[in-house]
Amino acid sequence: MPRITVTVDGIKYEEDVEPRLLLVHLLRERLGKTGTPVGCDTSNCGACTIMLDGKSAKSCSVLAVQADGCDIVTIEGLGTNGSMHPMQRAFHEEHALQCGYCTPGMVMAAIDLLREEPDPSEESIRHGLEGNLCRCTGYCNIVRAVRRGAQEMGQAVTTP
């Protein structure tokens, strides 16, 4: 069985894995990282989105062996010193979640889309989140939350 090394939310793990093991199952069932849920089996829903070396990836579509040597951030590792990431806070403030199942992936995808466009329009937010499905919110408040999160993240960079 191949041995891989991954860093997840700042902790380094060495694991022997079957080549067919999905990254999301490594996270959930071996490492106890159940904050990242699984919503489908065709990579359509995006619920399992994580950060893989700084870019968003659907962890149901990555084999654990492919993540060898990678740095992974999940929703559980997003906050710092016990306080939420500005995007998490923005989702709370704008009531951008109901059942919350899509939320971890949605927050990750939202943060990722700001990498390329730090101040996105409503239209670019909608396009940027196309790979993440939500059944509860109709996306209205998610769009608002991403705008708020973008503003707060922008301020976090520019203000001392």
Partner: protein, 785 residues
């Protein structure tokens, strides 16, 4: 003075754990020695099972056991149907795992229990099943033909019912105009984001079952009845549940089987469905053929309505399958006055996944049918669809109003909601633009869709349910406990899966007891904690469960008053309760209810006959339904060359009575409207001619993503419900009920001058384009004749 909590846009208490991944989805849970279950499912829509051999699976590494339906036949019972709507309904036996015959693709025929899910999946491949194929039954009309192959021995008609009020024959005979239309309510897949999961465990004596369910309490009763596990030895827990929309209002085969497997093996077992397994086997929604006839005078006054439904039950009758279409019965007449009404419904068996409740359950179908037909009447009479509605709807000064179908609408103001919506949309201006585009033969045509809906919510008064042959009541339970430190535990029988009960119930309690919002916690979803409940569906939680919480608070307050009088040495009548404190009138002497909680705990000085507790237990049974209503207006641009529909603006003005938390209300409406639009434009469960589901994945079954939807403009009018002390009406289903006809009416309105009077849902670009092609063809033929 404390701030009034009811009406505040409180941010949700639920959010923190969901935002940081500290969730308790059923699939997150584990137990020492946990085994994983997987089911082998039928690839045939209809077949006799001639042989099942699981021995190959049993031999594989990691496999603990494998069973066929035959292995479980003696103990698996039959899945329950709790709503046998007629006396002579045919409720077929429904084994959780098929034993001798399969009747839809996806029905479980065998299972494997292994040490992990990968091993279990491998082992499924080693099970050998032989089938003798039988003819699939897919079309409801064909299923009712005398020579149709039978889904069940007793035939394909599950039930037939008909009710008539008023003189329907005269209404139609004397009518100046009769609109006669047939609409298809396509089959939908509810698609809650969290796939179903079940975990069952036993200590050898009693059992615990965790399930991603909307109905832990109903499930406990039903599992006890089906499996024979005594109710008091069975605890059911709905941990965090990731959406339901009716799809988790069910007693599923997998829940029963997991309980049986843990009983057999004495070990914990877990099953988590894959999405494609879920699309096959989570009950589907809608699926009706609606024949609607509307009789009216030349001035547009509606005289009579005849509705005849064929409702696809699928292969079996599940928990509420037969009742769902009948919920439309009292609703097709909607907000309109008329002299006579006839409602007929046939439940038809086919070899497909059973249907059951899906957001709105019967009421969206009814609203679609009537709102589409009313628009057709307006077109026939060349009247504005809003004006036609005005001539027929119940006026605000006519409430309470008993409708032709026998419901008494307690309050409402259709005029106010409609005026507000017209103004927000800029209706007249859009009509002018529409005329202009028509004159110019613009390839992109503009359409405006109107939907003035109402719904019966707050399911339901137990008395009514009894008359409707429903096997349970409609009450809800709440309990309020003051803890020694003055903090408050609220226990509710209505467990949420995204609706924010913890926040809203805290707001109700904070106002009722005068304690801070932060000092309140809400417990739910575990039959060992919330021991009574009727659970969550039918926009009932706030209207019934929320009112139960209010009444439980009132009881606590009554007890606290006696205690306060004793402590303050006065008569209870001398006390006034304000901002969480009992004050002796005309003095400075007072005790807060939180202080009294400690006095009840120490119990050092209690009056005679007063127990050492400040808590209460209440069930509330509503006297009537509640009737939210509203006006939704949708403006679409339809490209007549490509068939593409774009929603340009969407305005919703809803009257849901008093609002506890406007933020939550807005969220419910957003999501509801999106789901209704999804039915209008995108979603359909498609079976092929052999009965194979083609839309098994999210790549094939098109849930809208953020790019597919616009932002919505929302506003509210407020006519408080008079049937409950909170004045609330419920909001969970309103958006979905309203939006589907608004969108389709808009599309037809855009294309009507081109000879279109209907487009079948989902109104995909291809469907719209084909409808246009057919109309062009008809026009050419007409011209050539």
């Amino acid at each position: 003075m404390t701030i009034q909590e009811i009406g505040r846009p409180r941010r949700r208490k639920e959010d923190a754990k969901l935002l940081t991944g500290r969730t308790q989805w059923t699939d997150n849970l584990t137990r020492p020695g946990l085994l994983h279950v997987m089911f082998l499912r039928s690839p045939m829509a209809h077949a006799r099972i001639t042989r099942v051999d699981v021995s190959g699976a049993r031999d594989l590494p990691g496999v603990v056991a494998a069973f066929s339906g035959q292995d479980l036949a003696a103990e698996q019972g039959s899945l329950p149907c709790a709503w046998p709507v007629t006396e002579d309904i045919h409720v077929p036996d429904h084994p959780p795992m098929a034993v001798s015959e399969v009747r839809y693709v996806g029905e479980a025929v065998a299972c494997v229990i292994a040490t992990d899910r990968y091993r279990a999946a491998d082992a499924l491949e080693a099970i050998d099943v032989e089938y003798e194929q039988l003819p699939a039954v897919l079309d409801m009309n064909e299923a009712l033909a005398p020579d149709s192959p039978k889904v069940h021995e007793a035939g394909n008609l599950a039930y037939a019912m008909k009710t008539t009020t008023g003189d329907i024959e005269t209404a139609f005979r004397d009518a100046a105009v009769v609109i006669d239309r047939t609409y298809i309510q396509q089959r939908l897949i509810p698609s809650a984001m969290e796939p179903r999961a079940v975990l069952a465990d036993t200590d050898g004596d009693s059992y615990t079952l965790w399930s991603s369910t909307q109905i832990p309490h109903v499930l406990r009763v039903m599992l006890a009845v089906v499996t024979g596990v005594p109710e008091h030895k069975l605890r059911v827990i709905a941990p965090d549940v990731g959406g339901g929309f009716g799809s988790k209002l069910q007693v599923t085969a997998e829940e029963v089987l997991c309980l049986l497997l843990t009983r057999r093996l004495g070990r914990p077992v877990k099953w988590t469905e894959s999405r494609s397994e879920g699309n096959l086997t989570v009950h589907h929604g809608r699926d009706q053929i609606q024949h609607i006839r509307l009789a009216a005078d030349a001035d547009g006054r509606i005289r009579g309505l005849r509705v005849s439904l064929l409702a696809d039950m699928g292969a079996y009758l599940m928990l509420l399958t037969p009742g769902v279409p009948t919920l439309g019965g009292p609703m097709f007449n909607a907000i309109y006055k008329m002299d006579a009404y006839e409602f007929a419904c046939k439940g038809v068996f086919t070899t497909k996944m059973p249907t059951d409740a899906y957001r709105g359950a019967g009421r969206p179908e009814a609203t679609f049918g009537i709102e589409r037909t009313v628009d057709e009447l307006a077109a026939e009479l060349r009247m504005d669809p809003v004006e036609l509605r005005r001539r027929n709807w119940i006026k605000h000064d006519e409430f309470p109003y008993t409708t032709i179908s026998g419901l008494t609408y307690d309050s409402g103001n259709y005029e106010a909601a409609t005026e507000r919506a017209l103004s927000l949309l800029g209706y007249d201006k859009l009509r002018a633009e529409q005329a202009d585009r028509r004159d110019r033969h613009d390839p992109v045509q503009l359409g405006i869709g109107v939907s003035t809906y109402t719904e019966m919510c707050g399911l339901a008064p137990s008395r009514w349910l009894g008359e409707g042959r429903y096997a349970a009541g409609g009450w809800e339970h709440a309990s309020v406990r003051m803890l020694p430190t003055g903090k408050v535990e609220v226990i509710t029988g209505s467990s949420p899966h995204g609706q924010g009960h913890v926040t809203s119930w805290s707001q109700i309690t904070a106002d009722a007891l005068g304690v801070p919002f932060e000092d309140i916690t809400v417990l739910h979803g575990d039959t060992a904690v919330a021991h009574k409940g009727m659970d969550t569906y039918g926009s009932r939680s706030l209207v019934i469960g929320g009112v139960a919480v209010l009444k439980a608070c009132d009881k606590v307050k009554d007890k606290a008053r006696k205690l306060a009088a004793h402590v303050l040495e006065c008569s209870p009548d001398d006390l006034e309760f304000e901002a969480g404190a009992f004050k002796v009138r005309g003095t400075d002497s007072q005790k807060t209810i939180q202080e009294l909680a400690f006095a009840a705990f120490t119990a050092h000085d209690l009056p005679d006959g007063v127990e050492a507790r400040l808590d209460s237990d209440v069930t509330f049974d509503p006297e009537n339904y509640s009737f939210p209503h509203g006006t939704h207006l949708c403006a679409v641009e339809v490209d007549t060359e490509t068939g593409m529909t774009k929603i340009r603006s969407y305005v919703a003005v809803d009257d849901i009575g008093k609002v506890v938390n406007p933020l939550i209300v807005e969220g419910q409406l957003h999501g509801g409207i999106a789901q209704g639009i999804a039915q209008a434009l995108f979603e359909e469960a498609v079976y092929d001619a052999d009965g194979n589901l083609l839309t098994t994945t999210m790549a094939d079954y098109l849930l809208p993503s953020a790019v597919d939807l616009p932002s919505f403009v929302l506003d509210r009018t407020e006519s408080p419900a008079t049937s409950n002390p909170l004045g609330v009406k419920g909001v969970g289903e309103a958006g979905t009920i309203a939006s589907t006809p608004a969108v389709v009416n808009a599309i037809v309105d855009a294309l009507r001058p081109l000879g279109i009077r209907d487009v079948q849902m989902p109104c995909s670009p291809e469907r719209v384009w084909r409808a246009l092609e057919a109309a062009r063809h008809r026009a050419q033929e007409g011209a050539g004749r």
